[in-house]
């Protein structure tokens, strides 16, 4: 009756689809298409794939990647779940500190974690040089052991956060019921509590798996030539002898395939295993013997301490005098001074691009979230899935896709700052969209209707009522987007050019140029910059809201 077809939300829908198509769907489709292209006269459909699976040089990368990600996922699940149980179910001293510290471990991007382990245990590392005085040495940190260590330590906090949140929503009556029905505590755990946690466990495992599959910086820095899918893809694309976009696209397509399959498998599983739990009284802390409590405390602090080592190492080492990769005892600001000579623009680039990208993510994210939550339809469900796809696609693949699409007319972005912005924008759009849709589902639609019935038209109602109510979600979405954007390396390393190097790129090149001092100083700035917004959100909104769990 009343014409509502082409209102503001129609525009938002079109803008949402255009954005996703321009910066995600079209680039990815191009990557897939390129993987089937070939050179020479005899066109063979899957020539690149044939070459991939018949040459050990190529196919070993997929084996390495799957192997490392699987092991890291298992390790992170074991560590994260154990820690979650220890902190939630036992009266450990300093619980708040343990929780906060585990969150802080998420602040430093994994490649900085990898670099910090090199600073400590590398050939020229602090520990090895200390030990060499006594003619001792440690087994090498480089190669698959180092990668696995970094992956596990960097990614277990995801599992910890998700499982803790889920544990806090299990009602004590569930355990009581199991116990009263004759299950001993261990059986109550495996038959009553763990099944309720299954969706969170698998969600955590998925985050670890996809994150480690896509991780480019860690194997580059600590892998010493070990080929994984992202590093080989980068190598093929940026080859000094002229690059091989077709093979890079083949590797990218395989990455998309693996991650999307993992994502869909988890979604399918979690959908079938999702239970509605009503939590009135959360699980109580269990009593236990002093000895066990001590053991659990030591375990929890050891795990969290290990997770904090990278950030602490980086910040301390940034104030040490250095020469090349060698650091000496003492205090010096030389590394911070060196930043201004060596990479003067990187800091400005990073802050500028990150801020711009976060503002764009929040702006579009809030509007799209409203569309997804309040105007449900099949079309919007498609848009939702496409936006969430950005979670699953590695930055390296997005980077290659954007370069291939936008280095030819009509739109040339390659080589400009805009291509970096495009990648940041699309890859971190899911954070505000997720946090805001989740929030909107908790806001009673009637509140908006009440406003409309009191004489305030829909859009002004959105501004005057909905936005203020969504504020916590907007802030936490923005903080998460900021935190993940600011240290982004895997697409930046492909997309930057000339003056547009970011801090993450600068750290990476400084590490490879053996300028560990500047690398540490830049990484310290990055960690602090990632920390500040999250800290403020924390103070304003409290722990749970800040992390969007």
């Amino acid at each position: 009756m009343r014409g509502r077809r082409r209102d503001l939300w129609w525009t938002v829908r079109v803008a949402g689809f255009l954005t996703v198509f321009a910066f995600l769907v079209y680039p990815l489709a191009t990557v897939l298409a390129t993987s089937f292209s070939g050179e020479g006269k005899h066109f063979v459909l899957a020539a690149n794939y044939e070459r991939f699976f018949t040459h050990r040089y190529y196919y070993s990368s997929v084996i390495n990647s799957l192997y490392l990600s699987a092991l890291a996922t298992l390790g992170a699940l074991a560590l994260g779940t154990s820690l979650a149980f220890a902190v939630t179910r036992y009266a450990l001293p300093g619980k708040a500190f343990l929780r906060t510290a585990a969150n802080l471990a998420l602040l430093s991007p994994p490649f900085i974690g990898a670099y910090s382990w090199v600073v400590l245990f590398g050939r020229m590392g602090l520990v090895n040089r200390l030990l060499s005085a006594f003619d001792w040495s440690l087994p090498t940190i480089y190669g698959w052991r180092g990668i696995l260590l970094v992956f596990t330590v960097q990614y277990f906090p995801f599992v910890f956060l998700l499982v803790s949140a889920a544990l806090r929503s299990v009602d004590q009556s569930i355990e009581d019921a199991a116990l009263s029905l004759g299950s001993p505590p261990r059986r109550a755990l495996t038959t009553a509590i763990l099944p309720i946690l299954a969706p969170s466990l698998t969600a955590g495992g998925l985050l670890v798996f996809m994150g480690t599959m896509a991780d480019f910086g860690t194997p580059m820095i600590i892998g010493e030539g070990l080929r994984t899918l992202p590093t080989l893809m980068y190598g093929e694309f940026m080859n000094e002898l002229g690059g091989n976009p077709a093979m890079a696209s083949t590797l990218g397509s395989l990455l998309i395939l693996v991650n999307t399959a993992a994502l869909l498998a988890q979604r399918y599983y979690a959908f079938r295993k999702a239970y509605n739990v009503v939590c009135i009284q959360p699980l109580r802390a269990k009593r236990t013997s002093r000895g066990r409590l001590l053991a659990l405390t030591v375990f929890a602090y050891a795990v969290v301490g290990t997770a904090l080592i990278p950030a602490v190492t980086i910040i301390i080492s940034s104030f040490m005098p250095t020469r090349g990769p060698v650091m000496y005892a003492g205090f010096s600001l030389q590394s911070y001074e060196a930043i201004f000579f060596r990479v003067p623009r990187a800091i400005a680039n990073t802050f500028g691009l990150t801020a711009l990208s976060v503002v764009m993510d929040v702006f579009l994210g809030v509007l799209v979230a409203y569309l997804l939550a309040r105007r449900r339809s099949r079309v919007h469900a498609v848009l939702d899935s496409l936006i969430m796809l950005a979670y699953a696609i590695p930055g390296t693949v997005v980077g290659v896709g954007l370069i291939v699409v936008y280095n030819r007319p009509p739109i040339i972005l390659t080589g400009t700052w805009m291509i970096l912005l495009a990648s940041y924008f699309i890859r971190h759009l899911p954070y505000p969209v997720r946090s805001c849709t989740a929030m909107l589902q908790q806001i009673d639609v009637r509140v908006e209707e009440a406003s409309v019935s009191l004489g305030v038209p829909p859009f002004r109602t959105f501004v005057k009522v909905t936005i203020p109510l969504m504020f916590p979600a907007i802030i936490s979405g923005a903080a998460l987007a900021w935190m993940t954007t600011i240290g982004e390396l895997s697409s930046s390393i492909l997309l930057y050019s000339g003056p547009w190097a970011t801090m993450s790129v600068a750290i990476f090149t400084e590490v490879f140029g053996n300028h560990f001092g500047t690398a540490s100083a830049l990484a310290s700035i990055l960690i602090v910059a990632a920390f500040v917004p999250l800290f403020l959100t924390y103070r304003v909104l409290g722990e749970r809201a800040a992390l969007g769990v």
Binding site: R446, E449, A450, S453, P468
Partner: protein, 364 residues
């Protein structure tokens, strides 16, 4: 005061008709209640009147004006929602002032109106509080004041009491009724609680499956339900099936035989095939035959299967036949009126208090 007319409204959700052709006429200044079981379409109809939903067919008129094309924010309607829909980010005063600000009133006028509305709903001491500091009853009064302060031409209330405890429900109900009478504002009130509907309304419309079954004063619906559904929904009704025997000459009395073989005298006719259903309210049943000899008194014999002593009444469940138990409320019982479970009992009712129910299958 606004007269509201609803004409031939149809609203579908997918394949099901939530509103299946409804017409109503709400008189100016009255409290008109839509009552029915959940899913009967009462809230849907309310939202259509508010303009929050669009009907597929039909019209809504305020006085002589069709408002179908008027968006909700221009209809000047006060809506009170079941979930309160209080603005959690605004104070009590901010909530009440919200609609006035949208109308761009001067600040001093807004302040005066907010204070007055606060007094009206007895919230004047709490105007600076945030909603999270209020009890459910207080929140309900805030949204009532918020809806009334804009001086709407129509007040719509969607189950406003359902989230309150029993005692508060009665309090707020009286408050709503008193305020509505004072302001003489046409009000459409939705509830699933027939008792609430009877207590508060000038006029009630009973709804089921997207249709209005009967419209009337509270006592009309109770005393002369037009259908089995209305009889059951408003209060409790004992229903007996039977058939007519040859009509008796005297003063329009008819002879009826119930399905369990009891002979009764009833007024009026049944269906053309001689089948009929008779309804008797629990309080119309007595332990003795009445003294009035003008009346026909019908007996009902059975066995007490349950007895609940409720001070002013004793409520008996009496089995009168296999699979048929009736409820009888015996008023002001003294020792002589107490029966034990298992006792045989004879109940009596005046033929004048028996209601003839159209006996359509499905109970509608």
């Amino acid at each position: 005061m606004t007269r509201v007319r609803v004409q031939g409204i149809v609203k579908r959700f997918g394949d099901t008709a939530a509103i299946d052709g409804i017409s109503l006429d709400v008189r100016p200044g009255e409290l008109f209640t839509l009552v029915g079981p959940s899913g009967c379409g009462k809230t849907t109809l309310l939202r259509i009147i508010a303009g929050l939903l669009e009907q597929e067919v039909g019209s809504v008129l305020f006085n002589e004006d069709r408002v179908d094309e008027v968006p909700p924010y221009l209809r000047n309607i006060g809506v009170v929602f079941q979930s309160y829909a209080i603005f959690p980010h605004l104070t009590v005063a901010g909530n009440i002032a919200y609609g006035l600000k949208a109308r761009h009133l001067p600040a001093d006028e807004i302040a005066a109106k907010v204070a007055e509305a606060g007094r009206l709903v007895q919230l004047d001491a709490l105007l600076d509080r945030m909603p999270s500091q209020l009890s459910g009853g207080q929140q309900q009064r805030v949204v009532l004041a918020r809806a009334l302060v804009i001086e709407p031409q129509l007040l719509l209330m969607d189950e406003p009491l359902s989230n309150l405890d029993a005692k508060l429900r009665v309090q707020i109900r009286s408050l709503i009724r008193a305020v509505q009478r004072t302001l003489q504002i046409t009000t459409i009130y939705v509830t699933h609680d027939q008792e609430e509907a009877l207590a508060i309304s000038d006029t009630i419309a009973v709804m089921d499956r997207g249709r209005v079954l009967q419209v009337g004063k509270p006592w009309e619906l109770y005393l002369t339900p037009g259908s089995r559904f209305v009889a059951d929904f408003i209060g409790t009704m004992n229903v007996f099936h039977g058939h007519l025997e040859a009509p008796e000459a005297a003063a329009g009395w008819h002879q009826m035989v119930t399905s369990f073989g009891q002979r009764w005298q009833v007024r009026a006719t049944g269906a053309s095939d001689g089948q009929l259903s008779v309804g008797v309210r629990p309080e119309s049943l007595a332990l003795e035959r009445g003294a009035n000899s003008d009346d026909a008194w019908n007996p009902l014999t059975g066995t007490v299967v349950e007895a609940a002593y409720l001070r002013a009444i004793v409520r008996y469940q009496v089995r009168v036949a296999e699979g048929l138990t009736v409820t009888a409320d015996i008023h002001n019982p003294d020792f002589g009126a107490i029966r034990a479970v298992g006792d045989p009992v004879t109940l009596w009712f005046s033929a004048n208090r028996a209601v003839l129910l159209p006996d359509r299958p499905g109970g509608a």
